[in-house]
Symmetry: C2
Subunit: 344 residues, 2 copies
């Protein structure tokens, strides 16, 4: 593709977010209904004086986002719906419709596609989302899945990444790093049984990790509990790239710093034991693993008690003044700067 004599800048030099800034920076805005464009979990489109439509899109590519050697198609369909819808939840919206486009290679038969759609349907039914469209195409390469989710929200209840204030508490739902450990377990067993006619992978005791990777949960229960408790976070994002990367997004959008405490990070027992078995660091899994689809949100200090009403939420740190950076504080008080991984 590179033409002779022309400058070539590697995408990795910019990173995913730098790349998006460079590519979309020159785009203008012509429609009054475009309230928020690129830069948050979902776009916000004004529909009435007090309500908005939320739109978000995700692309899943074979060989990058999933490996069909161990990813059952039904789970893959389910996960695609959860992953895409998670961005609507992260805006405190309600996902309502989805379009799914699929590019399939010749190795796929109708039955394989039906398995994929069984999973899509299972997630749609579980979370009350309607499939409203899509595009099906042959692919000369691997399986391609593109999902766009449309949600709605009262404008006043939409939670942006930009609302975090100094001293706000940093909260996390569920646990982190378990999906990443599930992925590593699957990769290990794949290597161990490569070429075996009858693979017998060892997964006993680690079903939780596999489930977190292969069939994540949409934390719609959390936003519903928030609504019931009449509670709105000051900022929110879903943890899809890893806590470090997503917390840095909050800091960038809210123009603030953050301190999170290592001993408060929610890490599952299974994640610790798998990490030991694989000689991996469970904290790195929690910070940079990704695929968690848990929620990261901030709340003013005085709302600490309300968090208990929601349940299943851990307070892991607090927001600090602008210019103080984002860091992990170890039990001995040392600070480790948080960095985000590059282009996936």
């Amino acid at each position: 593709m590179a033409k002779k004599g022309k400058t070539r800048t590697e995408i990795a030099e910019l990173g995913e977010f730098g790349l998006i800034d460079r590519l979309t920076g020159k785009f203008g805005k012509t429609n009054a209904s475009t309230l928020t464009a690129v830069g948050d979990d979902a776009a916000v489109i004004g529909t009435t004086a007090d309500r908005a439509t939320l739109v978000t899109t995700d692309l899943f590519l074979e060989g990058i986002d999933f490996d069909l050697v161990y990813f059952p198609l039904k789970h893959l369909g389910y996960k695609a719906v959860v992953a895409a819808s998670s961005d609507i939840i992260a805006m405190n919206g309600i996902p309502a419709q989805i379009t799914v486009s699929v590019g399939v290679s010749a190795k796929f038969g109708v039955e394989q596609l039906e398995e994929l759609y069984e999973g899509i349907r299972a997630a749609c039914e579980e979370y009350g989302i309607d499939l409203v469209g899509g595009d099906t195409s042959a692919s000369v390469t691997g399986l391609v899945i593109s999902a766009t989710v449309i949600g709605s929200a009262a404008k006043e209840s939409i939670t942006y990444r930009s609302g975090a204030k100094q001293n706000d508490l940093i909260c996390i739902t569920g646990d982190l790093g378990s999906a990443y450990m599930g992925l590593h377990l699957l990769e290990r067993e794949k290597r161990a049984f490569e070429g075996h006619p009858d693979p017998q992978p060892k997964f006993a005791g680690y079903e939780y990790l596999l489930g977190r990777y292969l069939r994540p949960t949409l934390r719609k229960d959390i936003t519903e509990a928030m609504a019931k408790a009449d509670f709105k976070p000051s900022a929110m994002i879903d943890i899809s790239d890893g806590l470090a990367s997503d917390l840095l997004q909050i800091c960038k959008s809210s123009d603030c710093g953050a301190r999170i405490y290592l001993d408060r990070l929610p890490i599952a027992r299974e994640t610790y034991s798998m990490a030991e078995e694989l000689h991996a660091d469970p904290v790195v899994a929690a910070l940079n693993g990704g695929n968690d689809y848990q929620l990261l949100f901030t709340v003013p200090l005085e709302m600490r008690d309300k968090i208990k009403d929601i349940g299943g939420v851990d307070i892991v740190g607090h927001i600090t003044a602008r210019g103080t950076g984002a860091a992990l504080v170890t039990p001995d008080g040392a600070e480790v700067s948080l960095t985000a991984p590059g282009f996936k």
Copy 2:
């Protein structure tokens, strides 16, 4: 992928539309705002008592939908916006927002992606569409582009595929088959210069055909003229798969037949001469070529005069009773049944 002892149905056996029916047939509807799901050019989502949001999505895969050997990236970006937005126009809606996801292989540098986005921006500016989101991912295979367009319309002005009535006139904008001939010319020159260090393709006199394939026009001018003339078609679809396939969609949705007349098909002079040069049939190009992005619509007989006000529209036939099938009538009065090509 196929497991031993399991049934395997080839996707080609069902065709694209049969496949979509089979995959999406079991999906339910849980949201009151979902007014129209799968089955028209775009999904219709109710937002207020009298207005709706329209959503449509398109997937473009390298090697299937485009060949980077001769498709300039800037044109490709432009075309992706036009192709996706065309489905909103075909519902008589106004495209307002777009999300674009891109999967790029390692051979791409930032400059190549910038070219692609230059084209996306040119189309967005020309047609008043705001880029509001997307996803950027590495790809181990080819270039993948997924575009979702969000539009809006007054509910009463939305034009479905299902509204055609017996005796309605069948109308077509622009001309058909020229994009297909442009594609064939590009393919011919690609073959002729395969491996040449300095290819000198012969395109003189055929710039129109190349333009129709590489940089199609969004027929927003037509729906604007319709609105100005206070005119609403009884049914409408955009011609993306070819006249035959898209007319069959109208017949299926409206439960009717159709007759179109060979000598009334709008075919450009350049399409005829290119067809002669390539020993191809210009009528086949018009019927099954695809990539036209013109509009096919039906109107009651008494509105014949209003069509002239719109301009650039040809009446090519009429809607017939249910059960009469769809056919092309040759000058000698013979009828040739219309058939749609299979899975693209």
